[in-house]
Each structure stands twice: as C-alpha cells, then as structure tokens.
C-alpha cells in the first residue's frame, strides 16, 4: 500500500510535469502558427499587389525620402519585378512570374501551418489526458483505503468473485453484501472523499462485525460440533474462501488488529487479487475466530492446548497473537508471510498448528473429519475408542482447565485446533490422538514463520508438562510437550 501510495505520489508529480510540458509545446505551436499566419497574410497582400501592378505602365507615388520626407515620384516598369529567391539569390521576372513564385511560397507556408496545427491538436489531446490523469492520481491520494483506480477494475473482478458467506454459521450474508456494496461504491467513486468515508464506514463496520461475531461465535460454538463433523476438511479451503469472504464482510476483529484487517477487507475487494489474498488471509483469521471454534484473538497463551471439553480441541495461544501479528504484518509483508502463520481459514489452523505431525508434515484434519474424530478429543468425535476418548477426555479436561482460564476466544481456537490436531493422528487412536498435540504442535511448525512461536514455546512447554503432553509421535514436536500425555499414553499402553 505504502508503495503504491508512493508511486501514486510520484505519478502525480510526474503527471503534473508532463502536463506542463505538453502545455509548453502547445503554446509554442500556437506562436508559430501565428507567425505563419502573418506570413501568409503578407503573401496574399503581395499577390494582390502583383495582380494590380501591371495594370498601369507607371504610377504616381510619393516616394519616401529618408525617414521623414516623401517626394513625389513615378513607379515605372511595373511589370519588372526582382524577386528574392532566398539565400541571396535574386531573379528578375515579370509580375506574373513573381505571382507564380509567391503562390509557390504560399504552398510552403500552408504546409507549415498544417503541420503545426496538427501538432498542436496532438499535444492538446495529450494535455487533456495528462490533466485527467493528474486529477485521478490526485483523487486517489490515499489509496491506502480504497484504490479507486484499481477499485474499478477490481470491483469488476471482485464482483465476479465476490465472496459469499458460505459458512453455515457464518455471519449473515448481509454483512458481506453490504460490505461488498460499500466497497463497490467506494471503488466506483473516485473522489477523495471516498477514502474518508471508507474509513468511517470501516470503523462502523468493525463495530458491527464485532457484535456479529460475538453472536455468531456463540451460535457457532453450539453448532460447531455438529457442523465440524459434517464438514469436510478437504473443503476447508473453500470454506476458507467463504470464510474469507465472510470475514471480509464481517469485521475481523477478534482481537486481530481491526484496522489492518478492516482496511484489508476493502482492499481485498479493490486491490488486485494478491492483496485480496492477504485480506482473505486476514479474513480467514477472523473468520476462524468467527467460527465458533477458533478465536485467534486470544492473548499469548502459553500453550495451545487442545482441549476437548465437549468442544473441539482448543488451540491455545499465541497463535492468536501470531495471527494478529501476522495480520498486521501481512499488510506490510504481503501474502507469503501471512500465509505462514496466519490462520485465515480453518485449513490454516491445520496447517499451522501441526502439532500433530508425527515426523511428517501431516496436515491436520479438522475434527469433523472422520480421522480427526478418532483422534480428536472432542466430545463430538467420540467415534474413537472409548479408551481413546477417555484418554482424550482426560487430556481435554486438563486442557479445558486451561481453557477455562482463557477467554472464550481461546476456546474457539482450541476447538478448531483440536480437530486439526486430531486428524493428524488418524490411524493410531491413542497415539494419533494424544493429541493434545495441538498444544505445541503449532509452535514447532509455526516457529519458522511465526515470531511468536519461539517465545511461546517455552511457556507452552511448561504448560504442557503440566497438562497432558502432546503425542510423542510427532517427532517434530518438542519432546517436552508430550510429557504428561506421553506418560498417560505409556500408562495406557
């Protein structure tokens, strides 16, 4: 954005200068045209004179004598004309011949006039173009909010792919629609005022979205389990998209930087797809938050524990923080960074918090997936063996305790995390699910991406030891984490 802004500023200056230069050329052309017109007038007068001169053999005239006196005289040899041909060449010729010469010169003068007028027209057009460009660039002073220029195109694009709230519990599509419309309007308008409006709108929207999110979170939580089970993680990406769209429409505020996310929202619509992605990511995060399961807004919680307490496992922590940071950074850094640690969609959760990875980058599966169910501690996914379930429950409880300490947001996240963690351990029930994996799992994976990760690790590790340790299987996971759980598992085994 900043870059674009800078570019715009430069463009404005450049365009202004360009316009000035064009105008200079136009003026120059005008002056030259004036000159040639005068010459043409002179030649016409000359032509007339030559026409009439031979009518009489001689004329009585007052001959100028010096600067102040005249003398009566006669003009003779009226048909003899000595014409200057140019370059110090003279030719004596009759009046008629002189007329021919004059007409020949007139042709040349006319040619010059035509060329000049063409050039002038050309540059006048350029000047107008430059003026328009200038006004446009000036208007899009703060393209930070909404790029009106890009917006138009993007509006067209986004219109096509306007996101709709696909999530079952996703915020009402009204928001999205409203937002889209607003964005469209904003995009369409190229006035600078738009940016101002957008900001205000953004803030208003943020507030609205927050409220909506809260409501939805509650709803989602209730229905999440049901939904999660039903939904496929495979379609998480699509969900993510949907969520993103929803998120865009909704305020993504779950503790995430409102502003950045918000601004990203309109941008997402307006700016090119790349930006949109970023926005989407932001949205995803938010949406994740919106989703009953994941709240990324929670403060840095030492550990992300998947707690299965009737909810999906929870992913505590600093994920949220990371996400926030990421969302903030995202604005600056761009998509890639974002992708890494940003959880814009549920799929991201799985991706990020792969604590469940057992030495392999096993993407987490949502708890909704059958696999996850087995592993997940969620009560919903009680498909796993009773033992596992009990185990998980135990784990979950320990986590739940932690969860309880955390805000709701954490619960939400953990819920999602748990599903993600669960899927990672598909086959082996126990081990797969020791699943509390969620705790730190994300950390190790997230570490490279998330700056928060490292600090979180130690804390999480501590917590983990307190709580059930994550599965040992994932070698990637820090060994510490699985202490408790491992012990439990070992015992069970």
């Amino acid at each position: 954005m900043a870059e674009k802004g800078n570019m715009n500023v430069e463009h404005v200056d450049g365009v202004a200068r360009l316009r000035e230069e064009h105008e200079k050329v136009v003026k120059d052309c005008e002056s030259r045209i004036q000159h040639w017109k005068k010459v043409s007038g002179d030649y016409e007068a000359l032509n007339d004179r030559l026409e009439t001169l031979p009518e009489q053999l001689s004329y009585d005239i007052m001959v100028p004598f010096g600067p102040l006196a005249f003398m009566p005289g006669k003009l003779v040899h009226t048909n003899e004309v000595t014409a200057l041909l140019g370059d110090n060449w003279f030719a004596k010729c009759s009046a008629k011949q002189a007329q021919k010469l004059v007409s020949h010169r007139m042709k040349y003068v006319k040619k010059e006039l035509d060329d000049l007028s063409k050039t002038m027209k050309n540059f006048e057009a350029r000047v107008s173009l430059a003026k328009n460009l200038e006004s446009m660039s000036a208007s899009k002073g703060d393209y930070v909010d909404i790029r009106e220029d890009a917006g138009n195109n993007e509006a067209a694009l986004t219109k096509g792919k306007q996101r709709i709230a696909h999530k079952p519990n996703s915020k009402p599509k009204l928001d999205a629609v409203l937002d889209l419309k607003e964005e469209e309007e904003e995009e369409n308008d190229e006035g600078s005022r738009k940016s101002v409006l957008t900001e205000e709108e953004l803030w208003a929207r943020l507030d609205e979205l927050e409220k909506l999110e809260e409501l939805q979170d509650e709803q989602d939580r209730l229905s999440d389990n049901a939904e999660m089970n039903g939904e496929d993680t495979s379609s998480s990406s699509s969900e993510e998209e949907e969520k993103e769209k929803d998120g865009q429409a909704e305020t993504r505020v779950n503790g995430l930087s409102l502003k950045p996310s918000w601004s990203s929202a309109p941008h997402s619509k307006v700016p090119p797809s790349v930006d949109g992605k970023e926005d989407e990511d932001d949205d995803d995060e938010d949406e994740g938050d919106c989703l009953p399961t994941i709240f990324f807004s929670h403060t840095v919680e030492p550990k992300k524990v998947r707690i299965n307490t009737g909810k999906n496992t929870m992913l505590k922590f600093s994920e949220r923080k990371e996400q926030k940071e990421h969302s903030k950074r995202k604005k600056k850094n761009g998509h890639s960074h974002h992708e890494l640690h940003k959880i814009t969609t549920p799929a991201d959760i799985y991706r990020l918090f792969v604590d469940v990875k057992n030495g392999e980058p096993i993407p987490r599966k949502s708890i909704l997936k059958s696999r996850s169910r087995e592993n997940s501690v969620c009560s919903d996914t009680s498909e796993s063996s009773a033992a596992d379930f009990d185990e998980r429950r135990m784990i979950g409880r320990s986590f739940s305790h932690d969860e309880a300490t955390h805000s709701d947001t954490s619960d939400g996240i953990t819920e999602e995390d748990s599903p993600t963690a669960v899927p990672l351990h598909p086959s082996s029930k126990f081990e797969a699910f020791s699943g509390t994996v969620v705790e730190k799992d994300p950390m190790p994976l997230a570490v490279p991406h998330l700056t928060i990760a490292p600090p979180a690790l130690p804390t999480i590790l501590e917590r983990k030891q307190e709580e059930v340790a994550p599965d040992p299987p994932p070698p990637q996971e820090p060994p510490k984490r699985v202490s408790k759980f491992k012990a439990a598992r070992l015992q069970q085994k």
Partner: protein
C-alpha cells in the same frame, strides 16, 4: 603514514581527478550545444536552398538571375545558378551529417565521463565515510 593523512590524501586524489573529469564533462556538455545550434542553422539553410531551387526551376531562361555578393547584385546565369544552388544543397546535407556524427560521439564520450565521474564520486564518498568512521 598516519591514517588521517592517508585518508586525506585518498580524498584529495579522487577529488582532484574529479575536477579534471568535471572539466572534461563541461567540455562535453558545451560542445554538443554548439553542434546542436550549428546543426539547426544548417537545417534552416537547407530548407531555404530547397525553396530557391524550386523557384529557380519555376523561372524561365528569360529571367535574369542575380546573386547578392556583399552590396553588389551580380548577374548569374540561370543554369549556373541552378547548379550552384544544387551544390550548396549537397554541401549543406554533408555538413548536417557531419554534425550528427559529431554529436553522437560527444554524447558517448560524455556518458563515459559521467560514469567515471560517478564512480569517482562514490570512491570519494567512501573515503569520506571511512575517514569519518575512523575519526
């Protein structure tokens, strides 16, 4: 040699060389201007002579052609005049081309010198920076 002296010397050297280069640069800047103005003059003469040639063609042999040499109008033969004007035209064209090549060369040289100058400036700045840092 103490560090400071060395640095100072180093600073001086690039600067002196720079000055020399700048002098050359100014040369390279002025010459093109001269060439440009001369070339423009030639252009006007070219157009003028073209017109004269055409008008001479329009004339008939009966017309007497004069050439203004100083304060004197000297009678010229029409054909001779035509030939003279043609030759002059060719001469002017040749001059224009010569100036063109000269301009291009000047431009190249000026670019080269600009590069050298910039590199020298960089060295100079580095030396200055080093001096500052060391100091």
């Amino acid at each position: 040699m103490p560090l400071k002296q060395r640095i100072y010397k180093g600073q001086q050297d690039p600067s002196s060389v720079q000055r020399g280069q700048k002098g050359e640069m100014s040369l390279y800047l002025k010459t093109p201007n001269k060439s440009m103005s001369a070339r423009q003059k030639l252009e006007t003469q070219l157009t003028e002579n073209n017109i004269v040639k055409e008008e001479l063609d329009l004339l008939e042999s009966a017309n007497i052609v004069y050439k203004l040499i100083g304060p004197v109008l000297v009678k010229q033969d029409l054909d001779e005049a035509k030939a003279t004007v043609t030759k002059r035209l060719e001469y002017i064209n040749g001059e224009i081309q010569r100036y063109e090549t000269l301009l291009k060369e000047m431009e190249k040289k000026s670019d080269q010198h600009r590069e050298v100058l910039s590199s020298l400036q960089q060295e100079f700045q580095k030396a200055q920076g080093m001096a500052v840092g060391k100091v």
